[in-house]
């Protein structure tokens, strides 16, 4: 079973995302900020990361840059999931190594479509 780390400071969003991703066959781990997420990845690299942008302690883009520098950190497919919807944000995410990008609000269809796009399904 593929694993997905859901990184978001909102417990509600993590819960919604968990339900959608479990339905399409992922095993879920959760983190509330980038630092926590990085600790998870160092312990066990997931197949996928669903990543919020704005979080306390360490934000999503900073986490992504650090992740891509870790040993094995280029392996996970990273899908941003954020209210930031400007082209500048999307470009920055892609340059930092994001595979796909979801603009909130999202629904189950969008998550599924974007995970397929990233080659995860």
């Amino acid at each position: 079973m593929k694993t997905c780390l859901v990184v978001d400071d909102s417990r509600v969003i993590r819960k919604v995302a968990r339900r959608v991703l479990e339905d399409i066959g992922f095993e879920i781990a959760e983190a509330a900020d980038g630092m926590e997420a990085l600790a998870w990845c160092r312990a066990a690299m997931p197949d996928a990361v669903l990543l919020d942008w704005n979080m306390p302690v360490m934000n999503g883009i900073e986490f992504l840059r650090q992740l891509r520098g870790e040993p094995g950190g280029d392996a996970p497919k990273v899908v941003f999931c954020t209210v930031e919807n400007s082209v500048d944000h999307i470009r920055a995410a892609l340059e930092a190594g994001a595979d796909e990008y979801i603009m909130k609000p999202f629904d189950g269809d969008i998550i599924q479509a974007k995970f397929a796009e990233a080659g995860l399904l």
């Binding site: 919807n85 082209v87 892609l94 796909e100 990008y101 603009m103 999202f106 969008i110 974007k114 796009e117």
Partner: protein, 272 residues
């Protein structure tokens, strides 16, 4: 409900799934509001009483409206981009490659193919494309022509890199770049009408149409569209549409993506 089913069949050859009440509801409620009726029942009563052509068409359009996404049936688009278009471009040195999205709904399909054509590799230098989008619905065509999509629509089927490359963000909507938009011409066409004056098309896309048609309408549409294809032309339908009954006219390309070849004995555009 019987009236709706009869209208759909007579005017557009479409099987209106009146047993799906929510579908009828979601499609007719906005129309009823727009036309100033209190309810769908009031709209239908008016339809019955007045038999007004304009209103009848508005109802038929609303009932037959296709739901579509960017790159729906992505295997077919990959096959077109990587095999069909490069092969056609080598044979169309002096004439443009003509592509018709025959039930284009709100335009996602024809824009997807225009983007795929821009991204295609191995095209002969100087290859020109002409894209046409047609639909039964004026309202769908207006939206298609505007090329403006909601954030929800651009997240269904469109890879994020293509969004950034081919769209401009305007508040909460995304507008397709003028470069792509200007590649396409639009026209309202009923596929049950006489299509013989349409001219030749190298690629015709017909998605979201056949499965809603009964057998005789299906044959009519497939036959009249196929008649517009040159020997190396291609008809693209939904992957789940089975056209094996038309084996005299069309042969499925390998891959089962809904790509059909006009004449496989002419070296097919799609590598076997």
């Amino acid at each position: 409900m019987d009236l709706l089913a009869a209208l759909g069949r007579a005017r557009a050859g479409a099987r209106v799934e009146t047993e799906k009440a929510y579908l009828v509801e979601s499609r007719l409620a906005p129309l009823a509001r727009r036309e100033g009726y209190d309810s769908i029942d009031a709209l239908i009563a008016a339809l019955r009483a007045k038999r007004e052509e304009r209103l009848i068409w508005a109802v038929v359009e609303a009932l037959c409206r296709g739901d579509t996404t960017f790159f729906r049936g992505r295997e077919a688009f990959a096959q077109l981009r990587d095999e069909v278009l490069p092969a056609l471009s080598l044979r169309r040195r002096d004439t443009p490659i003509r592509i018709w999205s025959a039930a284009c709904a709100t335009g996602q399909e024809v824009y997807s193919l225009a983007m795929a054509a821009v991204e295609a590799k191995g095209l002969a230098t100087g290859t020109r494309f002409e894209f046409f989008g047609s639909d039964l619905s004026e309202r769908a065509l207006e939206k298609a022509q505007a090329g403006i999509y909601t954030q929800f629509e651009v997240q269904r089927g469109l890879p994020i890199r293509m969004l950034v490359k081919y769209f401009e963000n305007q508040d909460d909507t995304w507008a397709i770049s003028p470069r792509i938009r200007q590649m396409v011409r639009w026209k309202r066409i009923n596929l049950l009408a006489d299509l013989s004056a349409m001219g030749r098309f190298d690629v015709i896309l017909l998605k979201g149409v056949l499965r809603g048609m009964d057998a005789s309408m299906r044959s009519k549409v497939v036959e009249s569209l196929t008649a517009l294809l040159p020997p190396d032309g291609v008809l693209v339908v939904d992957a789940e549409d089975d056209l094996s009954e038309f084996e005299d006219l069309l042969t499925a390309a390998p891959g089962r993506a809904g790509v059909y070849l006009r004449d496989p004995s002419v070296r097919p555009a799609v590598a076997a």
